[in-house]
């Protein structure tokens, strides 16, 4: 047996799951797709007293358009997002990001909510939530609250979700039809976590200007919006020199982590290179 012993519960409703969380008082873990939690349990890096399996909870698996917002149930599989016509039409950045997560067999199980709650700094979905300034809905003993992307990610593997709360829904603003987007990542092997990643969206705005959103993944402890670099592009457009200036600004704005896979300096360098590539690709796609 690889994982340590645990009590197993498969509640049928969010209410039941919340009651179980309360009962175990911080000693239980929620099991979503299990593509990150189960490896950690197999290594016994985590040994929760109980697992509360959300896979049989009804009503957490959906993708719906709600006006200008797309609402996605937390237990929606990454694979369902990958093949959803609604996501392809309204959130193509999310679709492209999801295709880069692990491999098709891991996306069959992995969920959007699980990825956000796990909050790996190099994961794609947190980067997209940040780039699009989405929000998540959490349910706890006191009811429901919304958490903005800017407030959700606290540090690596740590979110603003309380231990008695469950992330139930993701809300993302639909991308305008005439928007362009790009993701650029650097990883040593296909399917590995990126050493650095950049997501960008560019949407035409009034007066021939554009609204630009840039976010990082894998560079710092949490995904980061690169507002200073966005401003350069929004004010000066997408000439090669301007893109170069925005890329240089991006590299100044990040606070990269160094680890055995990549030094902080290398990640800073990658931030500039990937920003240049992503913005160039998105601005070309606009035309």
């Amino acid at each position: 047996m690889k994982p340590a012993k645990f009590d197993y519960h498969a509640p049928a409703s969010v209410e039941e799951a919340l009651a179980l969380l309360r009962r175990y008082d911080g000693e239980a873990r929620l099991l979503a797709g299990g593509q990150s939690l189960v490896p950690m349990m197999n290594f016994r890096l985590v040994a929760p007293a109980a697992l509360i399996d959300l896979n049989r909870v009804a009503g957490l698996d959906y993708v719906v358009a709600d006006g200008a917002t797309v609402r996605i149930g937390a237990m929606t599989r990454q694979r369902a997002i990958e093949f959803s016509p609604l996501i392809a039409a309204r959130l193509p950045l999310l679709r492209d990001a999801v295709r880069r997560i692990g491999h098709l067999p891991t996306r069959s199980r992995g969920t959007i909510g699980g990825s956000l709650a796990h909050a790996d700094p190099a994961a794609e979905i947190p980067m997209v939530l940040r780039a699009l300034d989405g929000q998540v809905v959490a349910r706890g003993p006191a009811g429901e609250r919304r958490i903005a992307a800017a407030d959700l990610f606290v540090s690596p593997l740590t979110t603003a979700l309380a231990s008695d709360e469950i992330l139930t829904e993701i809300r993302l603003p639909a991308m305008p039809d005439n928007a362009a987007h790009a993701i650029e990542e650097f990883a040593r092997r296909q399917g590995d976590f990126a050493l650095a990643a950049i997501a960008v969206t560019v949407a035409p705005a009034a007066g021939g200007r554009h609204t630009v959103r840039l976010a990082t993944g894998g560079v710092g402890p949490v995904p980061q919006r690169l507002v200073g670099a966005e401003a350069i592009l929004e004010q000066q457009g997408f000439g090669a020199d301007t893109i170069e200036a925005a890329a240089a600004r991006a590299a100044e704005l990040v606070e990269p982590l160094g680890d055995p896979h990549a030094s902080a300096d290398f990640r800073r360098h990658l931030t500039a290179v990937l920003t240049r590539r992503a913005v160039t690709a998105a601005s070309r796609a606009l035309a």
Binding site: M1, K2, P3, A4, K5, F6, D7, Y8, A10, G34, Q35, V38, P39, N42, F43, L51, D53, N55, R79, F83, H103, L104, P105, T106, S108, R109, R189, Q190, G191
Partner: protein
């Protein structure tokens, strides 16, 4: 709770049942409780893909599921691919192209390829390579596996669908 539970599932078209602790991984349940040793356990943390099976029709890592989670599910393992004595077109292609050496990765390769071809029946070579990155092979260098999957895709299209 943490004591053994009854688990029932349909495996390769046959209803199967067994008892196990909730912490029993699905891969270990298949191999140890059901005697289905065709599915291989390599890394046991989701990286190598040797343990890949179909769960309710889609490929998944059986080392990243607990058997109890598969209660009520329909599974296909490598043992379920052949139709009696007739190997599946993918198996035939692997045989024809010498797409295995030690064979350790092969069960996962076959199932991952089957799932991939169901989503993309007419893949480019680049798409095949991308899909096969889901499973590690330490022997072949992948060349013949890529050829086998391309050939199988063609034969399966000709036969009218990814069955």
């Amino acid at each position: 709770m943490s004591s053994p539970v009854e688990v029932r599932m349909i495996v390769n078209g046959t209803p199967r049942a067994g008892r196990c602790e909730p912490r029993k991984l699905l891969i270990d349940f298949l191999r140890e409780e059901l005697g289905l040793t065709g599915t291989h356990a390599g890394c046991e943390h989701g990286v190598c893909g040797a343990c890949t099976i179909l769960v309710d029709g889609v490929a998944a890592r059986s080392c990243l599921m607990f058997a109890v989670q598969a209660d009520g599910a329909t599974l296909t393992t490598v043992e379920g691919l052949a139709d009696g004595d007739e190997l599946h077109p993918l198996q035939q292609a692997f045989h024809r192209h010498h797409a295995l050496q030690c064979g350790f990765c092969t069960p996962g390769m076959l199932i991952a390829a089957l799932d991939f071809l169901a989503t993309n029946p007419e893949p480019s070579e680049a798409e095949i390579r991308d899909a096969l990155s889901a499973v590690l092979c330490r022997c072949t260098g992948y060349q013949n596996i890529v050829k086998a999957v391309a050939d199988a895709a063609e034969k399966m299209r000709a036969a009218g669908g990814a069955s």
